[in-house]
Protein backbone atom coordinates (compact mmCIF):
# COMPACT_ATOMS: atom_id res chain seq x y z
CA UNK A 1 0.00 0.00 0.00
CA UNK A 2 2.74 2.43 0.99
CA UNK A 3 4.68 1.56 -2.18
CA UNK A 4 1.68 2.36 -4.31
CA UNK A 5 1.12 5.68 -2.55
CA UNK A 6 4.73 6.78 -2.61
CA UNK A 7 4.87 5.99 -6.32
CA UNK A 8 1.72 8.02 -6.85
CA UNK A 9 2.56 10.99 -4.67
CA UNK A 10 6.31 11.01 -5.09
CA UNK A 11 6.73 11.70 -1.39
CA UNK A 12 7.21 9.41 1.59
CA UNK A 13 5.76 11.68 4.25
CA UNK A 14 2.61 12.46 2.31
CA UNK A 15 2.14 8.78 1.51
CA UNK A 16 2.41 7.84 5.18
CA UNK A 17 0.02 10.62 6.16
CA UNK A 18 -2.51 9.58 3.54
CA UNK A 19 -2.27 5.93 4.57
CA UNK A 20 -2.91 6.84 8.18
CA UNK A 21 -5.96 8.88 7.21
CA UNK A 22 -7.33 6.01 5.14
CA UNK A 23 -6.89 3.60 8.04
CA UNK A 24 -8.64 6.03 10.38
CA UNK A 25 -11.60 6.29 7.99
CA UNK A 26 -11.73 2.51 7.68
CA UNK A 27 -11.71 2.11 11.46
CA UNK A 28 -14.68 4.46 11.63
CA UNK A 29 -16.77 3.05 8.77
CA UNK A 30 -16.06 -0.66 8.43
CA UNK A 31 -17.53 -1.76 11.78
CA UNK A 32 -20.86 -0.17 10.79
CA UNK A 33 -21.01 -0.79 7.04
CA UNK A 34 -18.85 -3.91 6.81
CA UNK A 35 -15.46 -4.19 5.07
CA UNK A 36 -15.42 -3.60 1.28
CA UNK A 37 -14.91 -6.51 -1.13
CA UNK A 38 -11.29 -5.55 -1.77
CA UNK A 39 -10.06 -3.85 1.42
CA UNK A 40 -6.52 -3.25 0.10
CA UNK A 41 -7.71 -1.44 -3.03
CA UNK A 42 -10.26 0.50 -0.99
CA UNK A 43 -7.54 1.73 1.35
CA UNK A 44 -5.23 2.74 -1.50
CA UNK A 45 -8.02 4.57 -3.34
CA UNK A 46 -9.21 6.34 -0.21
CA UNK A 47 -5.67 7.33 0.70
CA UNK A 48 -5.05 8.64 -2.83
CA UNK A 49 -8.25 10.65 -2.80
CA UNK A 50 -7.44 12.11 0.60
CA UNK A 51 -4.00 13.04 -0.64
CA UNK A 52 -5.45 14.68 -3.74
CA UNK A 53 -7.87 16.70 -1.59
CA UNK A 54 -4.98 17.83 0.51
CA UNK A 55 -2.92 18.77 -2.55
CA UNK A 56 -5.81 20.81 -3.88
CA UNK A 57 -6.05 22.61 -0.57
CA UNK A 58 -2.36 23.34 -0.42
CA UNK A 59 -1.94 24.57 -3.94
CA UNK A 60 1.63 25.74 -3.57
CA UNK A 61 2.61 22.16 -2.82
CA UNK A 62 1.24 21.00 -6.13
CA UNK A 63 4.43 21.92 -7.95
CA UNK A 64 6.37 19.50 -5.86
CA UNK A 65 4.17 16.51 -6.61
CA UNK A 66 5.30 14.77 -9.75
CA UNK A 67 1.87 13.61 -10.83
CA UNK A 68 0.26 16.62 -12.46
CA UNK A 69 -2.38 17.41 -13.50
CA UNK A 70 -4.26 15.71 -10.69
CA UNK A 71 -6.28 12.94 -12.32
CA UNK A 72 -10.05 13.15 -12.02
CA UNK A 73 -12.24 10.24 -11.05
CA UNK A 74 -9.64 8.00 -9.48
CA UNK A 75 -12.40 7.41 -6.98
CA UNK A 76 -14.26 4.73 -8.92
CA UNK A 77 -11.42 3.06 -10.75
CA UNK A 78 -10.82 0.00 -8.62
CA UNK A 79 -9.67 -1.98 -11.67
CA UNK A 80 -6.64 0.22 -11.88
CA UNK A 81 -5.16 -1.50 -8.87
CA UNK A 82 -4.49 -4.85 -10.38
CA UNK A 83 -1.25 -6.59 -9.45
CA UNK A 84 0.84 -5.19 -12.28
CA UNK A 85 0.33 -1.56 -11.32
CA UNK A 86 1.28 -2.17 -7.74
CA UNK A 87 4.17 -4.41 -8.81
CA UNK A 88 5.72 -1.69 -10.95
CA UNK A 89 5.34 0.85 -8.19
CA UNK A 90 7.03 -1.45 -5.70
CA UNK A 91 9.95 -1.90 -8.06
CA UNK A 92 10.27 1.86 -8.49
CA UNK A 93 10.22 2.20 -4.73
CA UNK A 94 13.01 -0.38 -4.29
CA UNK A 95 15.21 1.49 -6.76
CA UNK A 96 14.48 4.78 -5.03
CA UNK A 97 15.21 3.41 -1.55
CA UNK A 98 18.49 1.88 -2.79
CA UNK A 99 19.59 4.90 -4.83
CA UNK A 100 23.38 5.18 -4.49
CA UNK A 101 23.10 8.95 -3.94
CA UNK A 102 21.68 8.13 -0.49
CA UNK A 103 23.98 7.18 2.37
CA UNK A 104 24.15 3.38 2.67
CA UNK A 105 22.64 3.32 6.16
CA UNK A 106 19.79 5.47 4.85
CA UNK A 107 19.25 3.06 1.95
CA UNK A 108 19.02 0.14 4.37
CA UNK A 109 16.65 1.93 6.75
CA UNK A 110 14.37 3.19 3.96
CA UNK A 111 14.19 -0.22 2.31
CA UNK A 112 13.18 -1.88 5.56
CA UNK A 113 10.69 0.85 6.37
CA UNK A 114 9.08 1.21 2.96
CA UNK A 115 9.35 -2.30 1.53
CA UNK A 116 9.25 -4.38 4.65
CA UNK A 117 6.84 -2.28 6.62
CA UNK A 118 8.95 -2.58 9.76
CA UNK A 119 8.32 0.10 12.36
CA UNK A 120 11.10 2.62 12.91
CA UNK A 121 11.57 1.33 16.47
CA UNK A 122 12.00 -2.24 15.19
CA UNK A 123 14.59 -1.17 12.63
CA UNK A 124 16.42 0.83 15.31
CA UNK A 125 16.52 -2.22 17.60
CA UNK A 126 17.82 -4.45 14.81
CA UNK A 127 20.72 -2.08 14.14
CA UNK A 128 21.39 -1.36 17.82
CA UNK A 129 20.81 2.39 17.54
CA UNK A 130 18.30 4.60 19.32
CA UNK A 131 14.92 5.23 17.76
CA UNK A 132 15.85 8.91 17.53
CA UNK A 133 18.95 8.11 15.47
CA UNK A 134 16.95 5.87 13.16
CA UNK A 135 14.29 8.57 12.77
CA UNK A 136 16.98 11.05 11.80
CA UNK A 137 18.45 8.63 9.25
CA UNK A 138 15.05 8.10 7.71
CA UNK A 139 14.06 11.75 7.58
CA UNK A 140 17.43 12.76 6.19
CA UNK A 141 17.14 10.15 3.42
CA UNK A 142 13.57 11.22 2.65
CA UNK A 143 14.62 14.87 2.58
CA UNK A 144 17.41 14.14 0.13
CA UNK A 145 15.06 12.21 -2.17
CA UNK A 146 12.79 15.25 -2.27
CA UNK A 147 15.38 18.03 -2.45
CA UNK A 148 17.93 16.44 -4.76
CA UNK A 149 15.26 15.12 -7.11
CA UNK A 150 15.92 11.39 -6.79
CA UNK A 151 13.32 9.91 -9.16
CA UNK A 152 10.72 7.24 -8.43
CA UNK A 153 11.58 5.19 -11.45
CA UNK A 154 13.18 2.00 -12.62
CA UNK A 155 16.49 3.20 -14.09
CA UNK A 156 17.02 3.24 -17.84
CA UNK A 157 18.54 0.11 -19.37
CA UNK A 158 22.09 1.46 -19.55
CA UNK A 159 22.02 2.36 -15.85
CA UNK A 160 20.26 -0.79 -14.72
CA UNK A 161 23.27 -3.09 -14.10
CA UNK A 162 24.96 -0.63 -11.70
CA UNK A 163 21.71 0.31 -10.01
CA UNK A 164 20.60 -3.31 -9.64
CA UNK A 165 23.97 -4.05 -8.02
CA UNK A 166 23.21 -1.34 -5.47
CA UNK A 167 19.79 -2.88 -4.68
CA UNK A 168 21.31 -6.36 -4.32
CA UNK A 169 24.05 -4.99 -2.06
CA UNK A 170 21.47 -3.42 0.26
CA UNK A 171 19.46 -6.65 0.51
CA UNK A 172 22.63 -8.66 1.15
CA UNK A 173 23.71 -6.17 3.81
CA UNK A 174 20.33 -6.56 5.54
CA UNK A 175 20.72 -10.32 5.29
CA UNK A 176 24.20 -10.25 6.79
CA UNK A 177 23.01 -8.15 9.73
CA UNK A 178 20.61 -11.00 10.42
CA UNK A 179 23.23 -13.65 9.74
CA UNK A 180 25.22 -12.42 12.71
CA UNK A 181 22.50 -13.64 15.02
CA UNK A 182 19.50 -11.32 14.52
CA UNK A 183 17.44 -13.78 12.55
CA UNK A 184 14.47 -11.46 11.95
CA UNK A 185 16.46 -9.36 9.51
CA UNK A 186 17.77 -12.39 7.62
CA UNK A 187 14.22 -13.64 7.10
CA UNK A 188 13.17 -10.13 6.08
CA UNK A 189 16.02 -9.91 3.57
CA UNK A 190 14.95 -13.24 2.06
CA UNK A 191 11.37 -12.01 1.83
CA UNK A 192 12.57 -8.85 0.06
CA UNK A 193 14.82 -10.96 -2.17
CA UNK A 194 11.75 -12.97 -3.19
CA UNK A 195 9.84 -9.79 -3.96
CA UNK A 196 12.71 -8.50 -6.10
CA UNK A 197 13.16 -11.82 -7.95
CA UNK A 198 9.42 -11.89 -8.68
CA UNK A 199 9.48 -8.27 -9.88
CA UNK A 200 12.54 -8.85 -12.08
CA UNK A 201 12.04 -12.47 -13.21
CA UNK A 202 14.64 -12.21 -15.99
CA UNK A 203 17.51 -10.88 -13.86
CA UNK A 204 19.78 -13.83 -12.98
CA UNK A 205 21.62 -11.97 -10.20
CA UNK A 206 18.33 -11.27 -8.37
CA UNK A 207 17.72 -15.03 -8.34
CA UNK A 208 21.38 -15.67 -7.51
CA UNK A 209 21.23 -13.49 -4.40
CA UNK A 210 17.94 -15.06 -3.29
CA UNK A 211 19.42 -18.56 -3.72
CA UNK A 212 22.55 -17.57 -1.79
CA UNK A 213 20.54 -16.19 1.13
CA UNK A 214 18.17 -19.18 1.22
CA UNK A 215 20.96 -21.77 1.23
CA UNK A 216 22.89 -19.94 3.95
CA UNK A 217 19.70 -19.48 5.95
CA UNK A 218 18.94 -23.20 5.75
CA UNK A 219 22.12 -23.82 7.78
CA UNK A 220 21.50 -21.15 10.42
CA UNK A 221 20.69 -23.49 13.30
CA UNK A 222 24.00 -25.30 12.87
CA UNK A 223 26.09 -22.12 12.73
CA UNK A 224 26.21 -21.43 16.43
CA UNK A 225 27.07 -23.58 19.39
CA UNK A 226 26.23 -21.31 22.29
CA UNK A 227 28.12 -18.10 21.50
CA UNK A 228 30.72 -19.80 19.33
CA UNK A 229 30.66 -19.79 15.57
CA UNK A 230 30.77 -23.32 14.13
CA UNK A 231 32.73 -23.72 10.88
CA UNK A 232 31.07 -25.41 7.93
CA UNK A 233 33.02 -28.67 8.21
CA UNK A 234 32.17 -29.02 11.91
CA UNK A 235 28.46 -28.28 11.57
CA UNK A 236 25.85 -30.83 12.62
CA UNK A 237 24.14 -31.43 9.29
CA UNK A 238 21.03 -32.82 10.93
CA UNK A 239 20.30 -29.23 12.02
CA UNK A 240 20.15 -28.03 8.42
CA UNK A 241 16.79 -27.42 6.75
CA UNK A 242 16.81 -29.74 3.69
CA UNK A 243 13.57 -28.32 2.25
CA UNK A 244 14.98 -24.80 2.23
CA UNK A 245 18.27 -25.98 0.73
CA UNK A 246 16.31 -27.66 -2.08
CA UNK A 247 14.20 -24.52 -2.57
CA UNK A 248 17.35 -22.39 -2.72
CA UNK A 249 18.91 -24.78 -5.23
CA UNK A 250 15.80 -24.54 -7.42
CA UNK A 251 16.18 -20.73 -7.41
CA UNK A 252 19.86 -21.17 -8.29
CA UNK A 253 18.91 -23.44 -11.21
CA UNK A 254 16.64 -20.67 -12.48
CA UNK A 255 19.49 -18.13 -12.24
CA UNK A 256 21.83 -20.44 -14.15
CA UNK A 257 19.15 -21.18 -16.77
CA UNK A 258 18.85 -17.42 -17.31
CA UNK A 259 22.56 -17.38 -18.17
CA UNK A 260 23.61 -16.09 -14.77
CA UNK A 261 27.39 -15.83 -14.44
CA UNK A 262 27.51 -13.06 -11.85
CA UNK A 263 29.08 -12.83 -8.40
CA UNK A 264 25.91 -13.81 -6.51
CA UNK A 265 25.25 -16.77 -8.78
CA UNK A 266 28.81 -18.11 -8.19
CA UNK A 267 28.54 -17.57 -4.43
CA UNK A 268 25.19 -19.38 -4.39
CA UNK A 269 26.71 -22.21 -6.43
CA UNK A 270 29.54 -22.51 -3.89
CA UNK A 271 27.08 -22.51 -0.98
CA UNK A 272 25.03 -25.16 -2.79
CA UNK A 273 28.05 -27.39 -3.51
CA UNK A 274 29.06 -27.16 0.13
CA UNK A 275 25.77 -28.73 1.24
CA UNK A 276 26.63 -31.97 -0.60
CA UNK A 277 28.18 -34.95 1.17
CA UNK A 278 30.95 -35.49 0.23
CA UNK A 279 31.75 -32.00 -1.07
CA UNK A 280 32.94 -31.81 -4.68
CA UNK A 281 36.05 -29.72 -3.89
CA UNK A 282 37.44 -29.53 -7.45
CA UNK A 283 34.10 -28.03 -8.51
CA UNK A 284 34.13 -25.61 -5.53
CA UNK A 285 37.67 -24.57 -6.50
CA UNK A 286 36.53 -23.94 -10.08
CA UNK A 287 33.64 -21.74 -8.86
CA UNK A 288 36.04 -19.74 -6.64
CA UNK A 289 38.41 -19.35 -9.57
CA UNK A 290 35.66 -17.86 -11.71
CA UNK A 291 34.42 -15.70 -8.86
CA UNK A 292 37.97 -14.40 -8.35
CA UNK A 293 38.23 -13.65 -12.06
CA UNK A 294 35.03 -11.64 -11.79
CA UNK A 295 35.75 -9.74 -8.58
CA UNK A 296 39.54 -9.52 -8.66
CA UNK A 297 39.40 -10.07 -4.89
CA UNK A 298 42.50 -11.46 -3.21
CA UNK A 299 40.37 -12.91 -0.40
CA UNK A 300 38.37 -14.88 -2.97
CA UNK A 301 41.71 -16.08 -4.44
CA UNK A 302 42.66 -17.27 -0.97
CA UNK A 303 39.39 -19.23 -0.75
CA UNK A 304 40.13 -20.64 -4.18
CA UNK A 305 43.50 -21.87 -2.91
CA UNK A 306 41.93 -23.41 0.20
CA UNK A 307 39.46 -25.29 -2.04
CA UNK A 308 42.36 -26.51 -4.21
CA UNK A 309 43.99 -27.91 -1.08
CA UNK A 310 40.76 -29.63 -0.05
CA UNK A 311 40.59 -31.07 -3.56
CA UNK A 312 43.93 -32.77 -2.82
CA UNK A 313 46.50 -30.42 -4.33
CA UNK A 314 48.19 -28.49 -1.49
CA UNK A 315 51.26 -27.74 -3.65
CA UNK A 316 49.16 -25.94 -6.29
CA UNK A 317 47.28 -24.22 -3.44
CA UNK A 318 50.51 -22.95 -1.84
CA UNK A 319 51.71 -21.72 -5.22
CA UNK A 320 48.45 -19.73 -5.61
CA UNK A 321 48.60 -18.36 -2.04
CA UNK A 322 52.19 -17.18 -2.36
CA UNK A 323 51.23 -14.92 -5.24
CA UNK A 324 48.74 -12.99 -3.09
CA UNK A 325 49.44 -9.66 -1.45
CA UNK A 326 47.56 -10.19 1.81
CA UNK A 327 50.32 -9.76 4.34
CA UNK A 328 48.05 -7.98 6.87
CA UNK A 329 45.34 -10.64 6.67
CA UNK A 330 45.24 -13.26 9.41
CA UNK A 331 43.68 -15.98 7.25
CA UNK A 332 46.39 -15.55 4.62
CA UNK A 333 49.00 -16.66 7.17
CA UNK A 334 46.88 -19.39 8.76
CA UNK A 335 46.04 -20.81 5.33
CA UNK A 336 49.73 -20.76 4.37
CA UNK A 337 50.56 -22.43 7.68
CA UNK A 338 48.04 -25.18 7.04
CA UNK A 339 49.27 -25.80 3.49
CA UNK A 340 52.93 -25.91 4.61
CA UNK A 341 51.97 -28.30 7.39
CA UNK A 342 50.28 -30.62 4.91
CA UNK A 343 53.34 -30.49 2.69
CA UNK A 344 55.49 -31.54 5.67
CA UNK A 345 57.38 -28.20 5.86
CA UNK A 346 56.93 -27.91 9.63
CA UNK A 347 59.37 -25.10 10.41
CA UNK A 348 57.86 -22.79 7.78
CA UNK A 349 54.36 -23.81 8.86
CA UNK A 350 55.13 -22.86 12.48
CA UNK A 351 56.46 -19.47 11.36
CA UNK A 352 53.30 -18.81 9.33
CA UNK A 353 51.03 -19.73 12.27
CA UNK A 354 53.06 -17.44 14.54
CA UNK A 355 52.54 -14.59 12.10
CA UNK A 356 48.80 -15.34 12.06
CA UNK A 357 48.73 -15.36 15.86
CA UNK A 358 50.34 -11.93 15.84
CA UNK A 359 47.38 -10.59 13.84
CA UNK A 360 44.65 -12.33 15.86
CA UNK A 361 42.32 -9.95 17.68
CA UNK A 362 39.63 -12.23 19.13
CA UNK A 363 39.98 -14.87 21.84
CA UNK A 364 38.54 -17.77 19.79
CA UNK A 365 41.02 -16.97 16.99
CA UNK A 366 43.93 -16.91 19.45
CA UNK A 367 42.77 -20.16 21.07
CA UNK A 368 42.51 -21.88 17.70
CA UNK A 369 45.96 -20.75 16.51
CA UNK A 370 47.66 -21.55 19.81
CA UNK A 371 46.21 -25.07 19.65
CA UNK A 372 47.56 -25.44 16.10
CA UNK A 373 51.05 -24.38 17.21
CA UNK A 374 50.98 -26.82 20.13
CA UNK A 375 50.12 -29.67 17.74
CA UNK A 376 53.53 -29.30 16.12
CA UNK A 377 55.28 -30.38 19.32
CA UNK A 378 53.00 -33.44 19.32
CA UNK A 379 53.25 -35.87 16.39
CA UNK A 380 52.47 -34.02 13.15
CA UNK A 381 50.35 -35.98 10.69
CA UNK A 382 50.47 -34.44 7.21
CA UNK A 383 47.26 -36.16 6.06
CA UNK A 384 44.95 -34.73 8.73
CA UNK A 385 42.40 -32.33 7.24
CA UNK A 386 42.05 -28.90 8.90
Amino acid sequence: MLASLVGFLGDFDKAEEAAQEAFAIAAERWPASGAPVNPGAWLVTTARNRAIDRIRRERTLAQKIHLLPVPEAVMDVMDEFDDTVIKDERLELIFTCCHPALPLEGQVALTLRAMGGLETAEIARAFLVSEETMKRRLSRAKAKIKQAGIPFAVPAAHLLPDRLDAVLAVLYLIYNEGYNGRVDLAAEAIRLGRVLAALMPDEPEAHGLLALMMIHHARRRARFCGEDLVLLEDQDRSLWDPAQIAAGQAVLDRAVALGGRGAYVFQAAIASLQTAEPIDWPQVAEMYRRLAELTGSAVVELNHAAALAQAGDPAAALHAVDRLDLDRYLYFHSTRGELLRRLGRSAEARAAYRQALGLATSTPERRFLTRRLEQFSASPDPTTPP
Binding site: G106, A148, G149
Partner: protein, 114 residues
Protein backbone atom coordinates in the same frame (compact mmCIF):
# COMPACT_ATOMS: atom_id res chain seq x y z
CA UNK B 1 38.16 39.38 -17.99
CA UNK B 2 35.43 37.35 -16.38
CA UNK B 3 35.57 35.99 -12.89
CA UNK B 4 33.57 33.32 -11.11
CA UNK B 5 33.02 33.93 -7.44
CA UNK B 6 32.73 30.64 -5.54
CA UNK B 7 30.80 31.49 -2.42
CA UNK B 8 31.37 29.12 0.50
CA UNK B 9 28.75 29.77 3.13
CA UNK B 10 28.82 28.63 6.71
CA UNK B 11 26.60 25.50 6.75
CA UNK B 12 23.16 26.22 8.17
CA UNK B 13 23.66 29.97 8.37
CA UNK B 14 21.34 30.84 5.49
CA UNK B 15 18.57 28.78 7.08
CA UNK B 16 18.70 30.91 10.23
CA UNK B 17 17.88 34.09 8.30
CA UNK B 18 14.33 35.37 8.10
CA UNK B 19 12.78 36.00 4.69
CA UNK B 20 13.25 39.73 5.24
CA UNK B 21 16.93 39.27 6.03
CA UNK B 22 17.39 37.08 2.99
CA UNK B 23 15.71 39.68 0.79
CA UNK B 24 17.95 42.37 2.25
CA UNK B 25 21.06 40.25 1.63
CA UNK B 26 19.91 39.60 -1.90
CA UNK B 27 19.29 43.33 -2.50
CA UNK B 28 22.71 44.19 -1.14
CA UNK B 29 24.24 41.58 -3.37
CA UNK B 30 22.26 42.83 -6.37
CA UNK B 31 23.64 46.31 -5.74
CA UNK B 32 26.97 44.86 -6.82
CA UNK B 33 25.39 44.21 -10.18
CA UNK B 34 25.13 47.91 -11.02
CA UNK B 35 26.84 48.38 -14.34
CA UNK B 36 25.96 44.76 -15.20
CA UNK B 37 28.99 43.49 -13.44
CA UNK B 38 27.12 40.32 -12.42
CA UNK B 39 26.02 38.24 -15.38
CA UNK B 40 24.39 35.45 -13.42
CA UNK B 41 24.27 33.88 -9.99
CA UNK B 42 22.91 30.81 -8.30
CA UNK B 43 22.40 29.72 -4.73
CA UNK B 44 22.92 26.04 -4.05
CA UNK B 45 20.78 23.90 -1.78
CA UNK B 46 22.36 22.72 1.47
CA UNK B 47 25.35 20.38 1.46
CA UNK B 48 23.08 17.51 2.58
CA UNK B 49 21.54 17.45 -0.89
CA UNK B 50 24.90 16.87 -2.60
CA UNK B 51 25.91 13.74 -4.48
CA UNK B 52 29.40 13.04 -5.80
CA UNK B 53 29.93 11.18 -9.04
CA UNK B 54 33.14 9.55 -10.23
CA UNK B 55 34.01 6.91 -12.79
CA UNK B 56 36.18 3.90 -12.00
CA UNK B 57 36.79 1.02 -14.38
CA UNK B 58 33.93 2.19 -16.58
CA UNK B 59 31.44 2.13 -13.70
CA UNK B 60 29.72 5.15 -12.26
CA UNK B 61 30.29 5.46 -8.53
CA UNK B 62 27.94 7.68 -6.60
CA UNK B 63 28.33 8.77 -3.02
CA UNK B 64 26.15 10.82 -0.73
CA UNK B 65 27.41 14.16 0.50
CA UNK B 66 29.56 17.07 -0.75
CA UNK B 67 33.07 16.65 -2.15
CA UNK B 68 35.51 16.92 0.70
CA UNK B 69 38.96 15.96 -0.49
CA UNK B 70 41.96 18.19 -0.77
CA UNK B 71 43.92 16.71 -3.66
CA UNK B 72 41.55 17.68 -6.44
CA UNK B 73 40.76 21.32 -7.01
CA UNK B 74 37.74 23.04 -8.43
CA UNK B 75 38.29 23.42 -12.17
CA UNK B 76 35.01 24.93 -13.24
CA UNK B 77 31.31 24.44 -13.14
CA UNK B 78 28.28 24.20 -15.39
CA UNK B 79 24.60 24.71 -14.79
CA UNK B 80 22.38 22.11 -16.38
CA UNK B 81 18.67 21.44 -16.66
CA UNK B 82 17.68 17.84 -15.92
CA UNK B 83 14.41 16.08 -15.16
CA UNK B 84 15.80 14.56 -11.97
CA UNK B 85 18.99 13.46 -10.22
CA UNK B 86 19.50 10.51 -12.58
CA UNK B 87 19.57 12.92 -15.51
CA UNK B 88 21.98 15.23 -13.72
CA UNK B 89 24.35 12.42 -12.71
CA UNK B 90 24.42 11.19 -16.30
CA UNK B 91 25.86 14.54 -17.34
CA UNK B 92 28.14 14.52 -14.30
CA UNK B 93 29.45 11.11 -15.32
CA UNK B 94 30.56 12.43 -18.69
CA UNK B 95 32.33 15.37 -17.04
CA UNK B 96 33.91 13.18 -14.33
CA UNK B 97 35.13 10.73 -16.95
CA UNK B 98 36.75 13.50 -18.96
CA UNK B 99 38.63 15.08 -16.06
CA UNK B 100 39.28 11.80 -14.25
CA UNK B 101 38.05 13.33 -11.04
CA UNK B 102 34.90 13.93 -9.07
CA UNK B 103 31.87 16.02 -9.95
CA UNK B 104 29.64 17.22 -7.16
CA UNK B 105 25.99 17.52 -8.12
CA UNK B 106 23.89 19.88 -6.06
CA UNK B 107 20.40 21.21 -6.76
CA UNK B 108 20.02 24.96 -7.18
CA UNK B 109 17.73 27.03 -4.99
CA UNK B 110 14.95 28.56 -7.06
CA UNK B 111 14.91 32.29 -6.53
CA UNK B 112 11.34 32.46 -5.25
CA UNK B 113 12.23 35.45 -3.12
CA UNK B 114 12.45 37.73 -6.14
Amino acid sequence: MQYALMIYAEPGRVETLSDAERLAARAEFSALADGSRITGDVELQSAETATCVRVAGGRTLMTDGPFADTKEVLGGFVLIEAANLDGATLAARIAADRVGGVVEVRPVVHADLD
